[in-house]
């Protein structure tokens, strides 16, 4: 039997049953021995209970998506079994809690009483380890993989460590024993190919926080909101010390105004929110653009509109992020598509904000934010960090005299001026003169030119039809692309995290294509509509389920687009 390169397992049950813990433990254990891993969670918006599931994908190669078909479903209750068993692939196995429900013997299933077995070790919290022991056996992992993980995890320098480790090892063994009893096979998972260089296992939200700290964030004010709260929590914990400040605001209206006040006062400032908070920040983002104040706004998208789907994923805030405020403005947007890009994109967002002296939106999304993934350790020490040009001349400076970006005076230093939300003259005083409004509008837009240094990916760039996903749809789209090209489809690949301004050379290439297919998680086809405005023949593949794309669905729909495009080119 050929060895498996991939192993996808979903843990499904009630909130509070340890679904997330089990999935992340498996990911951590696999990563420790050199596999590539990715988790994906979705849970209800409540503290305890409610249907919850987390998926872990373990692979010998870098993981692009959380995977379509399950090798194993771990069902903690009947409801979870009913909801998720259709996603189990051919030859897949179900591990279920036989204390909760029973399945027929003819299914490829392994029932065992999770809790009872766990408790028999004397440890009341070992049920998950029973499950993980069984899982490890199903893919013929050496016993040491999980045993060593348990030893590492529970060695915490406490008196009870030894006992806890022993009971967990026992629980793993009980799970293995159960798995040995079954007659069917899942297939052995190939040995890991250890990654070169140091790896970290990190969630998207934490990668944003680490990127911000690396870029030199000094000031953070934010309001709790799913799925962006972990960034607030990380900042409160880590952004401390002289000259630094992290704080929970009374609303997003306050968050944005406060970070603009701090940006005006010379600090690198950031806030993080999700859709409803971005709506409240509308006036503030316009103020930042008008008064020319550097600031980074992280928007972790969730399902919308209004309160929408707080714990589900969607890519439906793009149009709003581009023009979040009234009047003539167009805010720079960086949209990471992987956990590694969450780090890089955040650093770049700060650099852009400092360079053009205005707000930049980092457009993340729930599926990235809550995903844990192994990535190469970011080169913190080698990261290029930019700082705004500060005015250091005499008083009497005309801050807004130039037709382009100009050095920024900082309170306490020379060059006092008024940062003004009203249209203003060269020292920041309010004016209504037509000529000044023309000059200032053009000044603000001219600064976007400074941000045309974005990079992009391209493959098979000479093909007439291209696929260009954005954000978190990158992973499934790339997996679909690779398979389609393997199967002989003629297709180009383009991708960038720099959605506004787009790298000019990329836009040039896209304009030359017969068709650019944009997979995106929204109803309107938001990014393709922007591309069409920019003169690109773009069409979207949309999905609005609150879940990421499945690779197989994407492949089917990309093929449909390619065949339509081919017919059209024949007719033409």
């Amino acid at each position: 039997m050929e060895k498996k390169q991939n192993f996808i397992v979903r843990f499904a049950g009630e909130g509070g049953q340890g679904v997330v813990t089990a999935a992340e433990a498996l990911a951590q254990a696999a990563a420790q021995v050199g596999y590539h891993v990715m988790t994906f969670s979705t849970f209800p918006s409540q503290i305890l209970g409610g249907p919850t599931w987390t998926q872990t994908r373990v692979s010998t190669r870098p993981v692009l998506s959380s995977g379509d078909e399950l090798d194993v479903l771990v069902a903690f209750n009947r409801e979870a079994y009913d909801a998720h068993s259709p996603d189990v692939g051919a030859g897949g196995v179900i591990i279920y809690d036989s204390a909760s429900f029973q399945l027929d013997d003819d299914s490829q299933s392994l029932g065992m009483p999770f809790d009872e077995l766990g408790r028999s070790t004397g440890n009341l919290r070992a049920a998950n380890m029973v499950v993980l022991g069984a899982l490890a056996k199903l893919i013929d992992w050496p016993g040491s993989y999980m045993d060593d993980f348990v030893t590492d995890r529970f060695t915490r320098g406490r008196a009870e460590d030894e006992e806890i480790i022993k009971s967990n090892h026992q629980a793993l063994g009980l799970g293995r024993d159960e798995a040995v009893k079954i007659t069917f096979k899942l297939g052995e998972l190939s040995d890991p190919i250890p990654c070169e260089g140091e790896q970290i296992l990190i969630r998207g939200n934490d990668a944003v926080s680490m990127g911000a700290l690396t870029a030199g964030v000094e000031f953070y004010v934010g309001y709790p909101i799913s799925p962006a709260t972990p960034i607030l929590v990380s900042m409160e914990r880590n952004l401390v010390g002289p000259g630094k400040f992290a704080y929970q605001a009374s609303s997003e209206i306050e968050s944005i105004a406060a970070i603009l006040g701090a940006g005006f006062a010379g600090k690198k400032s950031m806030t993080a929110t999700s859709g409803p908070g971005l709506s409240l920040m509308s006036e503030g983002i316009g103020l930042g653009w008008m008064a020319e104040i550097p600031a980074v706004i992280v928007n972790v998208q969730r399902g919308g509109p209004a309160t929408g789907l707080p714990t589900k994923t969607e890519q439906s805030d793009l149009l709003m992020a581009l023009t979040p405020a009234h009047g003539d403005c167009r805010i720079p947007i960086i949209a990471p598509g992987t956990v590694a890009e969450c780090f890089e994109g955040t650093v770049k967002a700060f650099n852009w904000a400092e360079r053009y002296q205005g707000p930049v939106i980092l457009l993340s999304e729930m599926m990235l934010a809550e995903r844990a993934q192994n990535i190469p350790r970011p080169d913190v020490e080698g990261t290029v960090v930019e700082n705004r040009t500060v005015y250091r001349g005499e008083n009497g400076y005309r801050r807004f005299e130039a037709a382009e970006v100009s050095p920024m005076p900082i309170p306490g230093g020379p060059g006092a001026y008024v940062a003004n939300a009203s249209e203003h003259d060269s020292i920041g005083d309010t004016t209504h003169l037509p000529q000044r409004h023309i000059l200032m509008t053009e000044r603000r837009f001219s600064k976007l030119k400074l941000l045309e240094d974005g990079t992009y990916e391209s493959d098979n760039a000479d093909q007439r039809v291209a696929i260009m996903p954005w954000g978190g749809s990158k992973g499934p789209a790339r997996e679909a692309y690779d398979q389609l090209v393997d199967e002989g489809e003629k297709l180009a690949w383009f991708y960038t995290i720099f959605l506004h301004p787009l790298p000019p050379a990329l836009l040039e290439e896209l304009r030359s294509k017969d068709l650019v297919i944009v997979p995106e998680l929204n109803f309107q086809g938001q990014f393709s509509s922007i591309l069409r405005m920019d003169g690109v023949k773009a069409e979207s593949i949309t999905q609005y389920t609150g879940l990421p794309f499945k690779v197989s669905d994407l492949m089917k729909r990309v093929r449909e687009h390619i065949s339509v495009a081919a017919k059209e080119s024949v007719t033409a």
Binding site: F219, E254, N395, D425
Partner: protein, 288 residues
């Protein structure tokens, strides 16, 4: 409009109370600059929207930094400036509409934090710049352009509200009392914590209350303004709340918490307990 800003075409109406407030603010800031031996650029004036917000463009003499933000957001902006740079002297200037209506949600949080700033409110009980609509301090029943049959809501008592929300310094004054107001603004700036100086600053076009505040013996109009009694204990919150409920315009300090500890002072204590890691050390905590 001045030599400094020839494109700026805004003016206050003749007799506007904001002229007096401007003079007092200039005096107070300049005196503080001399006393503290810090340059004018060390001051930041955060202004709201409305006639009073234009203060930031109309200040004469050496220029502080200014932030003329969006309607109602003076306190959040000031939070950012002050927490970013605690060494700056941050002054908020706003009107009753900006501060008590659209910006009302921000007073409580600023007071609980005891944000170390001085707020100067110019209260004319009307929206002047938009030409005479009712405001939170407009009396019940008053006819304005937006209340053609009389205002339906009662008026807010700003002094009592500030005290209830936890402001640690509250003073009340009248725009024509420039000397007294100068002293109060200086006291507010020197207070370690959230200070509000609430000034009756009449709108001579839409709601001219100068005569009512000053009084007029010839017309047998008793003045609304009265000096805070010397016997009033400014450190007594209950006494301050009682004083705030007396109809009229008290002149002087209503309340000052003698044990006021600002958020900046509290943060200094917290920071001593925090363990600070470098970005590289933090990234390494995620190592596999």
């Amino acid at each position: 409009m001045s030599k400094r800003n020839p494109e700026y075409d805004f003016e206050w109406c003749p007799g506007c109370g904001d002229f007096g407030v401007r003079r007092a603010l200039e005096n107070a800031v300049q005196a503080r600059m001399i006393e503290a031996e810090l340059p004018m650029e060390n001051n930041v004036v955060v202004a709201g929207i409305g006639c009073s917000g234009n203060m930031v463009h109309l200040l004469e003499g050496p220029q502080p930094f200014g932030f003329h933000g969006v309607h109602g957001r003076t306190l959040p902006i000031a939070l950012g400036v002050k927490m970013a740079r605690p060494e700056l002297n941050v002054i908020v200037v706003a009107g009753d509409g900006d501060f008590l209506s659209i910006g009302g949600e921000h007073i409580g949080p600023a007071a609980q934090r005891n944000l170390d700033i001085c707020v100067v409110i110019m209260d004319n009980a009307v929206y002047g710049l938009t030409k005479g609509q009712s405001s939170p301090t407009t009396e019940l029943g008053v006819v304005t352009s937006s209340t053609p049959f009389g205002k339906m809501e009662g008026k807010v008592n700003p002094l009592e509200l500030y005290l209830t929300l936890g402001a640690s310094f509250v003073a009340s004054s009248y725009s024509s009392k420039v000397k007294d107001l100068t002293v109060l603004i200086k006291q507010g700036m020197n207070h370690s914590g959230f200070a509000i100086v609430h000034v009756q600053s009449p709108c001579t076009t839409y709601n001219d209350t100068h005569e009512a505040i000053r009084g007029n013996p010839k017309k047998q109009i008793t003045p609304l303004a009265y000096d805070v009694p010397e016997a009033h204990d400014t450190s007594d919150l209950s006494a301050a709340k009682e004083l705030a409920r007396i109809p009229g315009v008290p002149l002087g300090v209503i309340y000052q918490d003698p044990e006021s500890v600002s958020i900046n002072q509290r943060i200094a204590e917290l920071e001593a307990r925090a363990e600070v890691k470098s970005p590289a050390e933090l990234v390494d905590t995620y190592k596999i």
